[in-house]
Amino acid sequence: MTPLLFTLALGCTPDQNFAERSIEMIAVAYGDFDAVELNLNRLEVPHQLYEGFISGPAYDEGPEDLDLISLEVEYLFTGETESEGRVLFLNDVVFVNSGTRGFGEYVYNGLDRDDGIVTDGVAIDNVREYVEDGGVLVVSDWAYELVEAAWPGQIEFFGDDTALDEAQAGSVGRYTARAGSDAVRDAVGDEVSVSYDFSYWTVIEAVASDVDVHLSADVLFRVSDSEGEGTLPDAPLLVSFEVGNGLVIYSTFHWNAQSAALADPLLTALVEGLPVAGAAEDTTEDTGE
């Protein structure tokens, strides 16, 4: 099989200015809650999988045989090859699914610690340097501590940002989100319905001025066990920001929980140059858009 080579011209939109580069290598870290690899499969985007489950997939259609995945997420962030150096830097885009281990205080279903990567200075330095050098990092929901650890000033997550897991407060359900950038507006329109398939998703309160908010909505969140739910108006749901020559994209939602009509155009719009085979276009045509 001949590797597919695509040319990526990051920064095509007027508000972005990236150096032109090609996307050859894509890494995806398996997680318990999101499965962006299913979106990539649908779009026929080649990618390398790294085993990163905390407990195992909580969604349908998880991998049938984990033994086939020999590479682990810790290796992705801190591993090195003799000839080529750091593994992370071999990739042009890195997807980190919600529920990838190493980014929480505890495992979500017990009392074992789960901060192996987020407290690893080498891993965080690698991620920061990787993006500055032009890499694209796409993170969803519970993997947010990676973004917080590497660029603490960019996103104001709900609660105490210095404490792990504090921002996990969103309520399950569907939210009507407003498009906040031309790229997203062009891709999916002014308003979209975003699905949150698990409770306690990561809530963003605010972002720095150089962070682009692509989707936002009035959202419900758990104030506390005793106080119940509250509403946070116009909370960012999907954001991105540039770091050096690279880009960080963070979604509070799970990519695999969204309809193809929403997720596929969003992914292809934000990760420009993604080597897509054209499934999203088919969808648009079929649904009369």
């Binding site: 409770s199 066990d225 009509a261 085979a277 079929d286 009369g288």
Partner: protein
Amino acid sequence: MNAARALWMVLSALLLALPGAGCSDAKDGGSDEEELGELSFVVSPPEGGQGQAMTVLLDASRSAFAFGETEVDFGEGVEVLSVTVEDGWTAIAEIQIDGGADTGARDVILSIEGRDTTLAEAFRVRSDSFEITPDNGKMGETLEVEIYGVNTEWQSGRTWVNFGDDIEVVSFTVLSETVAEATVAVAADAAPGWRNVWTEDGSHVVTLYDGFLVDRVAIAATWDPEDVDQGEVVEFTLIGRDTNFSNATGIRFYDGDYEMEDVVVDAITVIDSENLWGRMTVSNAAELGFRDVLVTTGEEGVMLRDAFEVMPGSVGLDEVAVSLSFNVVRGIDNGTGDIRESVNSQCIFYIPLDPGCPQSAEAAACSDGVDNDYDGYTDCYDTDCEQDLACAPSGPQPYDANVVIELRETGGDPHDCPTPQTVSAGDYVWLESPANVVTLVKNIDPGTGLIYYAPESALTMDDYVTDQWYDLHLQGDPDALPEEIIERIQPTVPADYELLTPQLWGNYSHDREEDFTFTWTPAQTYPDAILYSSIGGTTLVANDAPGSVATYPWDDGEWTFSSSELLQLNPNEVSFTLYSYIEGTTFGLKDSIYQSNLTESYIYLSGSMNLE
């Protein structure tokens, strides 16, 4: 491209070729309809109840739905409030089922770009449905849920509710045909997300689709220590996560579904919302094996499965008590007037429960010397304790007038006490007197392991010699109790006796308007023993509570229950009892700390009659 990158691309390519491990074909990527296969739709949930408002998902096997040009019709009695096309594969309909909509399966008609597709019997309207509240719980949480039915006919003992894998229904109580409540324990490793809940009435199943959400956070705790020994007083610690420990925190122990009371929490000290320590006493007879620990604080509950294991404790032979009895029980056959007689003796060497069998909270509150409900009254002075056994009126006094008494049952719920450990004293023990020797053989209950000594064959009155004091002679067991003779500890009553009148058989009847006089051959009970008689098995006229008339009569051969006393009892088939009774002296095994064991003996007679 350098060599390393080429290698990575090969890896990617290999992964793409592995089913389930890498990329797969995109959904319906081709354009040829023949290649796409037949278009089909799935409606979920496939059913709803009369009067129910619900969200229905329509899934297509390939891209089919069109934005703005998709409609759905569920037929008469089901109003479609809205249809939202998510993408070519998915549409969502909000529907309202009328309370009078016809029940049964019905077709669903999809209209896409003006073309109709009939989904035959794709949706069913059923008469019964239900909802639950709350509809969510955290991993590791134990919580109470209320279940409200519409047109349901739930029955206690027949209906049950299920929450799927890793959510245990600890208890389920049907309050009415349409209201029930359940205690459910969400396992710490339960899969988060929505799940179906369903009720079962025999083969009748009603499903609430996506009815319960397992939240993606765990409420959890760790327990230390992992092992405890029978008879041990143990300090424990609980470290919680997202818990709210407080002074209201309580701890209970379970073996599977059964609450166990053989481990008692003596004290709890809460350090903060996520840390506490305490002290507990493990009964010396605590059942061996693992215990689940339920930690409750208000409505919050955390179940720790297999939190600790009860291990065998050491048996101290200086802690062995003795239970010994030697009795005669007689009954008058109503059909023939014959006397059915059994002579019984039993001896058990056991280690008394420590701590003792717990009282119910209600019973404890009636004997603790505390004004528990702050109404100014304590124990039996509090009307709340009127019905408690501890506050029951006293029975007759020896040689006093007859007494009509109300029989009380123990207060509160019955408690399961552990079975005390028993100890071997060899293959035999003997009751030895100058008149005879009664041999008791070791028996081991195969179910409980209880060791007890009993006659190998039925005893007769030749074995029960009256007016004797028997020694207890232990054969001795090299691995347990040694040989020992404890002298003069088991008495027998001074003399045998028999009831002379009335003849309590052949459906004997007595009119309450008349005195009831009975006669017997004196049992020579004075001064060491005593005689007792009663008429029971009926209820009191005053309050319909169980009651009887009783007396300790002078043992001179004749006594009378008066008509005025009998008229306080309701007419019924009743039992008449008469028995002589003697107590032994306190005693103990020579090396034991328990020296207050007490024996007794009696000759008991009962017969039935109709009290009119």
